[in-house]
């Protein structure tokens, strides 16, 4: 059974049909890309999966549980984590603090007024592990807002990872980045995929990334699914090419 089953979700905003009966099925450990021209409904689709908005129709099943009616926080508890198009972190807090918070929440300490020595150690070790793995350790005491765009994004992704998710939603992680930073984030994502065994759904505009990393690609256009399949197929698909109005893919 797949990890994520999105069944015919639909979302309207007034008269705008943002997402039109879209279905998607993601397996454990898969890296799926969602692509499409601007305004295709990709972010709304993510918003539906992560609980930011409720669908007008359809179901979302995560790990066998129907999460359609659950709040975002509840979905996190069920194993979902996401990043946003515009990096959402705690800019005035340090890198260490940014990571400490999700680590503590994931450990079940969110309501705790005090921690035992052993518990504090556990949090420390987990945070250190994340810092080391991502290369953020050198920045641990700096305010996240002061870091480069790429580093901020890395912090955000690591915060999501700190939650021990089964499924990670990444909304245009390389948006607004130059060559170098795009490469670094791409590396990070690939490592996440390979080393952590997470299922990842990725909204991306950068085709090279999509081609190199994705197991499968889903194309959205004007809220509906245009095509679904392996990267090479999608690239060759004429409808997809047309939707992008001749944008260079290869």
């Amino acid at each position: 059974m797949s990890l994520l089953e999105v069944e015919n979700v639909t979302k309207r905003f007034g008269s705008l049909l943002a997402v039109d009966s879209v279905s998607m099925s993601v397996d454990s450990g898969e890296l799926r890309a969602v692509i499409g021209p601007n305004g295709a409904g990709k972010t709304t689709f993510f918003n539906l999966i992560s609980g930011f908005v409720r669908p007008d129709a359809g179901r979302i099943v995560l790990d066998g549980h129907d999460v359609t009616g659950l709040s975002p926080a509840r979905r996190v508890w069920r194993g979902l984590a996401r990043t946003f198009q515009i990096t959402e972190v705690f800019p005035r807090l340090t890198v260490g603090e940014n990571l400490q918070i999700p680590v503590e929440v994931a450990a079940g300490f969110r309501l705790r007024i005090g921690l035992s020595g052993a518990e504090r150690l556990k949090v420390r070790e987990r945070a250190d592990e994340l810092l080391e793995w991502s290369g953020l350790a050198r920045n641990v005491g700096r305010a996240v807002g002061e870091l480069s765009h790429g580093d901020q994004r890395t912090v955000e992704i690591m915060m999501a990872l700190a939650l021990n998710p089964r499924l990670l939603l990444l909304d245009e992680p390389t948006a607004g980045m130059g060559e170098r930073e795009t490469y670094e984030i791409a590396q990070l994502i690939r490592r996440l995929h390979r080393e952590k065994g997470l299922a990842i759904v990725l909204i991306e505009h950068d085709m090279r990334l999509v081609l190199r990393m994705a197991d499968r690609v889903m194309v959205l256009d004007r809220g509906a699914v245009l095509a679904n399949g392996a990267p090479a197929e999608i690239v060759a698909n004429e409808m997809v090419q047309a939707a992008y109005l001749g944008k260079a893919i290869a």
């Binding site: 975002p72 509840r74 946003f84 705690f90 800019p91 400490q100 918070i101 503590e104």
Partner: protein, 315 residues
């Protein structure tokens, strides 16, 4: 130890030293013990408020309600039920908690100015009750003809009634306890979730933090200590009056927090000291003190929004 940390410890030590020795130096600076006690009481209320606005990032402008509920709860208990100070305080605090729990549930899903407006309105409900319910609360004249009772704990007697000094230490004791509790909470994992909510609510939500729930808890803690401050306030004056419940009082708490610096734990104490002293001074000098207080608010907000400690931090 990092230099920053030793500065902090030194500052903490200095503050406590000043607080502990207040009765001995207050006269030398032209003040009197009850003024110092008042500052500590108001600082407690302002610190409680800052737990919510400074550390959780939720704008409440109705804390006078809980300050006043605590006060009236204590006063009414002592006057009509049992003339026992500690019992009166307990009733006052419990009243504040219960009211906060209920009101909190009603409003916790609101944000920003809407939330602020609703807290103001709820605050006024209690003002209005105290004002109208003449026979019980004394209405506009306030609740008088009662006083704080000396404490008999079996093995010791604490004369908080006749000795202003003893009463000051009594107040300081609760102040210390409350601040320790709040500081502890803020440094805990729970406290960090509040910071998270303040810094980026959406991100907090997507980290699995049930934001409304945590805000309600922060609200509860904040209102509880405001209620405690309220009980101490009426005990100080042996008097409770509706103005304690008015939004003007709420505004004063907010300005104390802002004036001292909302990001600092000692900020509200600093702010309360400056404000109370100033208010005391100005109102004795001129009958236009209200204009001055108003002007003061305007100046602080326009030119010193980070507050005294905020400015010091940057320096």
């Amino acid at each position: 130890m990092k230099p920053e940390r030793s500065w902090k410890l030194a500052a903490d030590a200095l503050v406590w030293l000043l607080l502990l020795t207040m009765p001995f130096w207050i006269g030398a600076v032209g003040g009197y013990i009850q003024l110092g006690t008042l500052v500590v009481v108001m600082a407690l209320a302002a610190t409680a408020l800052n737990f919510l606005i400074g550390f959780t990032g939720i704008m409440s402008f109705g804390h006078a309600a809980f300050f006043g509920l605590g006060g009236y709860g204590a006063g009414l208990t002592i006057k009509y039920l049992v003339p026992n100070t500690l019992l009166g305080m307990a009733v006052g605090v419990v009243t504040a908690i219960v009211a906060a729990a209920i009101i909190g549930k009603l409003i916790v899903h609101l944000r920003g100015i809407y939330f602020a407006m609703v807290t103001i309105a709820f605050g006024q409900i209690f003002y209005f009750i105290a004002f109208r319910w003449n026979n019980v609360t004394g209405g506009d004249d306030g609740l008088s003809n009662w006083h704080r009772m000396p404490i008999h704990l079996g093995f010791i007697n604490i004369d908080i009634l006749d000795s202003a000094v003893t009463f000051y230490y009594f107040v300081l004791f609760f102040f210390a306890l409350s601040l320790a509790a709040m500081a502890w909470a803020l440094r805990s994992p729970f406290g960090r979730t509040l910071l998270a909510i303040r810094e980026n609510e959406r991100r907090a939500r997507y980290l699995g933090i049930p934001v409304d729930n945590h805000i309600w808890l922060s609200w509860l803690i904040s209102c509880t200590f405001a209620g405690l401050a309220g009980t101490l306030y009426v005990l100080l004056n042996n008097f409770a009056d509706p103005h304690q419940l008015h939004w003007e009082q709420s505004g004063e708490f907010v300005i104390m927090a802002v004036l001292g610096g909302m990001r600092s734990f000692w900020g509200p104490l600093v702010g309360a000291t400056i404000f109370i002293v100033l208010q005391n001074y100005v109102s004795s000098m001129t009958e236009n003190w209200m204009s001055f207080i108003g002007l003061f608010f305007v100046v602080i907000v326009l030119f010193f929004p980070d507050g005294v400690l905020g400015i010091l931090r940057k320096a």
